[in-house]
């Protein structure tokens, strides 16, 4: 583990901004933070809880041209490679773990998604441990935590007057060597680091019990409880847009001029009305009940069955931003306690 005096962080960021395309947390109003490309360290603000929108949009953007088509039938895929490597500084451990899950979706054995994977392979991620988790966070339920290192190349933690830097992957090792001003950590730093890690993990009160949840939900598919759960949901899809693990998308053609245009991929949501609407008029998931069931089952039963990890990382964005304050942790608790079938 290496350490760096706090005031030197800006020089490190400036160095990174010079060598790479640096993306870091910025904020216009000090309330809502987002990851944006910065030219230097002046606008970077590391005093934040988590970004408002998840960093998935840096790899899986909301609107992306798959290819352009022309009158003569020619298809032209936009250039995916960029000359400069990209560094994301200050991603939170939950979002980094979410990217590991998205890798499993976009990079499976049979079909690889070049748009996502090119960006992914071209990016080095510096994650920043959380010292002040929010009341909506529940990452510790998913065997990660405020100081988890899954999915990060270099793990950074804020000691108050020091930052610790720890290479997790060899991509991280390689970039860490280039940074100047880092010293080896002494014993007292390591013990402080562990104390900090324990303290922030203890601050997380919200928890859901995941043991055996995937199977339990399978035989609760038509539990009466679903009826109550979906009633207040207005199916706006904000939860899926802000969620770091939601990856459903739509593919549409947009005409841009005579006989030419682009086939684009845009974010979609299982909660939106036409998600499974078929041309024949049939819709296997017509109402709120089926849509909410799909959303919960996909994250807490289908994904565990297919990828043996959960489709949620406990970042709490869906709880914090739901217009009707629907709470996924409460939903799971209610389902756990509910009866699987109506009592005959």
């Amino acid at each position: 583990m290496k350490i760096l005096e706090k005031e030197k962080i800006n020089s490190v960021l400036d160095f990174l901004a010079g060598q790479y395309d640096l993306v870091a947390p910025v904020s216009q109003d000090g309330l809502k933070f987002e990851y944006a490309q910065v030219k230097d360290s002046s606008k970077v603000n590391l005093d934040f809880t988590n970004s408002h929108e998840s960093p998935k949009k840096l790899f899986f953007p909301q609107y992306e041209v798959l290819f352009r088509y022309y009158a003569d039938g020619r298809k032209e895929v936009p250039a995916l490679e960029t000359d400069k490597k990209r560094v994301i500084f200050g991603m939170r451990p939950c979002d980094a773990k979410a990217l590991l899950f998205l890798d499993k979706v976009f990079d499976d054995a049979k079909y690889q998604d070049p748009y996502y994977l090119t960006k992914r392979n071209n990016t080095v991620i510096f994650t920043l441990g959380c010292v002040s988790p929010q009341s909506t966070c529940f990452c510790t339920s998913f065997d990660i935590g405020p100081f988890a290192k899954d999915g990060s190349d270099v793990f950074v933690a804020d000691f108050g007057d020091f930052y610790s830097f720890e290479a997790v992957t060899d991509k991280g090792e390689e970039i860490l060597k280039k940074l100047s001003g880092l010293r080896d950590a002494a014993g007292e730093h390591i013990s402080k680091y562990e104390k900090l890690s324990r303290e922030s993990a203890a601050k997380i009160k919200r928890h859901i019990e995941l043991q055996g949840l995937a199977e339990e939900l399978i035989n609760k598919q038509d539990a009466p409880m679903w009826e109550q759960i979906h009633l207040k949901c207005i199916r706006c899809g904000v939860c899926s847009f802000l969620c770091p693990t939601c990856h459903c998308f739509d593919m549409i053609d947009e005409n841009q001029g005579p006989q030419q245009g682009a086939r684009v991929r845009i974010w979609d949501s299982c909660m939106s009305c036409g998600f499974t609407q078929e041309a024949s008029g049939h819709n296997p998931r017509p109402g709120g009940r089926e849509k909410m069931r799909q959303r919960v089952m996909h994250k807490f039963s289908y994904i565990p069955q297919n990828f043996d990890t959960f489709g949620c990382v406990g970042c709490g964005r869906c709880i914090k931003n739901c217009p009707v304050r629907n709470d996924i942790t409460k939903t799971i608790k209610k389902l756990r306690e509910s009866e699987s079938r109506e009592k005959r």
Partner: protein
């Protein structure tokens, strides 16, 4: 405020016990101390979940659309007007709904409070007579409700009595609204270039999640113009021109119907001030046609009626 809650629970219990309604739609506490959450009470013994205070923001009338069973709904002044518009547009059968009106209830603007606390997290809230005490892990502060009212909390004394089956608290003596038209007046005073810059900044925050549309009680189209692909009116991208076009047309589709309930404003995850366009249209319609929607379910809505002598000085 506490005895309003008691009255509401008593009324709800009676309605459910007499089987007058199958369900009472109201508010209950949620994990977010600054916001209650909608709840659907179907059994008399569950009425104690119902709460009624200045944190009851959501407009519950959206849930009435398409509901077959007889339902009671807790509705603030402007929510009642939403029902009047929905009844006029045949989306809700008036005899199918029992409106429990709370005509004098005003709500606080959660986003104003968060901005004031500069993002410090609120752990719990204590409701006082005309203030709320917000407590965090290291701070606690009393906020006067009147300082943090949600803009547009218009109390009206001219809503038709037929819209109130049950009234909790008293009817407002006179029309009192928070005149936040000052923002609109400021904008009107600006040059068109400055206004364009203002709205450019606002609508570049939009991520097209359509929470505003899904929260609005008057947005109930089977297929929204913005979701259509043939013809694709506007691109699904989030660049400025498409965002701006979506919001202009969304506001125009609510023209002469919007009762300024603030549902779109509250639902927007990116804090876009969505009410400005709707409020401006409502102001124009009041000045041009002296008509306001949702005061009386029998009255024609402004844009689906006309008068021979409507103003036309802008037409060559």
């Amino acid at each position: 405020m506490v005895d309003l809650e008691k009255q509401l629970r008593a009324q709800a219990k009676k309605l459910l016990e007499d089987k007058a309604v199958d369900c009472v739609i109201g508010y209950e506490n949620s994990d977010d101390p600054l916001m209650t959450t909608p709840c659907f009470i179907t059994a008399p013994n569950e009425v104690d979940r119902l709460v009624l205070n200045c944190l009851c923001g959501n407009n519950l009338t959206k849930y009435l659309i398409g509901r077959k069973e007889k339902t009671a709904v807790v509705a603030k002044a402007w929510d009642v007007r939403s029902v009047a518009v929905l009844v006029k547009e045949n989306q809700v059968k008036r005899e199918n709904v029992i409106i429990i009106g709370v005509p004098s209830l005003r709500i606080v603007d959660q986003k104003k409070i968060i901005a004031h606390l500069n993002g410090k997290e609120v752990i719990s809230v204590i409701l006082k007579e005309n203030a709320i005490e917000v407590q965090g892990d290291v701070f606690s502060e009393d906020l006067l409700i009147d300082d943090y009212l949600q803009a547009g909390c218009e109390l009206r004394d001219d809503i038709d009595d037929s819209m109130f089956d049950i009234v909790i608290g008293e009817m407002p003596a006179s029309k009192q609204n928070i005149d936040d038209d000052d923002l609109i007046k400021q904008l009107e005073a600006m040059s068109s270039e400055q206004r364009w810059e203002f709205f450019k900044k606002e609508f570049s925050k939009c991520i097209r999640c359509y929470a505003c549309r899904e929260a609005c009680p008057l947005c109930y189209c089977k297929s929204c113009f913005v979701d259509q692909n043939f013809p694709a009116w506007f691109s699904k991208s989030t660049d400025l021109s498409d965002n701006m076009s979506f919001h202009i047309i969304r506001a125009l589709h609510a023209a002469g119907r919007c009762t300024d309930c603030g549902a779109c404003f509250r639902a927007c995850p990116n804090d876009i001030n969505l009410r400005v366009l709707n409020r401006k249209i409502a102001k124009d319609i009041k000045e041009l046609f002296d008509s306001e929607p949702g005061l009386n379910p029998k009255e024609d809505l402004p844009l689906t009626s006309y008068k021979p002598d409507d103003p036309q000085d802008f037409i060559k």
